[in-house]
Symmetry: C2
Subunit: 197 residues, 2 copies
Amino acid sequence: MQIDIDLLYSCGAVAKKYKKHEVIFDEGEAANFYYQILDGSVRMYNSNEEGKEFTQGLFYAGDSFGEPPLFINETYPSKAIAIQDSTILKLSKDKFLKIIDENPSIQKYFLNLFAHKIHSKAKTSKEIINQKPEYRIISFLNSFKKKTEHPDEKTLIPFTRQEIADFTGLRVETVIRAFTKLNQSHKVEIIHHKIYY
Amino acid sequence: MQIDIDLLYSCGAVAKKYKKHEVIFDEGEAANFYYQILDGSVRMYNSNEEGKEFTQGLFYAGDSFGEPPLFINETYPSKAIAIQDSTILKLSKDKFLKIIDENPSIQKYFLNLFAHKIHSKAKTSKEIINQKPEYRIISFLNSFKKKTEHPDEKTLIPFTRQEIADFTGLRVETVIRAFTKLNQSHKVEIIHHKIYY
DNA sequence: CGGTTCCTTGAGGATGATCAACGAGGGTGG
DNA sequence: CCACCCTCGTTGATCATCCTCAAGGAACCG
């Protein structure tokens, strides 16, 4: 689900193309637009001085992202970049809020979307505390699995170890060592360096 | 702001008293009620096998808590207990959702509330990654300060070191040692064991 | 004053981060 | 088809730091 694309266009939304790695908005910027992905994918993340990163979320075609600050006059808490060449609809904050105001069903949709986000962020912080790298990784894998079509059977995890490190706030080497352990204890399967879970 | 108390009563809400430390709901339970605090205070937190805790949020008179799961058919990601003897209004999920449905202004209120929650949780996870205990603590102090009346002047931090440890996912001793450092570098002031920031 | 609860300190150990080096795979252009 | 490059994966050694455990001190309250 999402806001109807024709409705967005009719309100003045513009499709903008972003190159791979192009910055969509940066941490600390004021929020002036509603973004909805037509095609491609987006990563929201933070990085600190030492180059350590933490991924707040990944978004794909059909998803919107960076909405909460639009409602509360806050700056973006994270940076957003295109992971690949992407096309993204941009709608000004005012128009977006007007759409929300006039469409109860859309308002309700965002209420549910936000409830999901809160729930998943609560789970994330909970897991981060569980220092053990293996726990963090498994819970990341679980949260990913929930979005896939076949959560029961073993699926290929389409992330590099570095990406998983950024998701979990760990270092690559730590992730690798954790995976060899998880492999040994048959919690995951590793075939030709590819991870199945 | 909150849902009008008379409206809640008229929809069948019941005020229930909780003793200090009494459990309001537990992690993994189904969400069946909307809770709004008339008097007292509530802590939402997770704990792991080794007794380590992580505080997801503190709530005071006038606040509601544990709403997101009501919208999305998920269980509670954390446990909620009364910090002190408290009186809390309970309204069944169905009635709550009906109120939301029928009152656009309340729906809007929750949209804003949720946006705030997402924003603050995003900031929290971002800080947790910054391993350094001092960073974590300072950012916790900042988030606390923002809620107080006089964010400019030094105020007494009304938490024990253990509580701050639970908020930040650290151990008491680590918190204590971090505070002595923060004191030495004049980031905080400690007088008679009391923390001012 | 006796009992809690909270705070503090020190020593030792565990573990993830860091640094450095190398291996493996995939794609590209000559 | 091969040489090259670039990204990703892997491993070992060392380091820094937070946790753990243990013990005691300080503040507060009845």
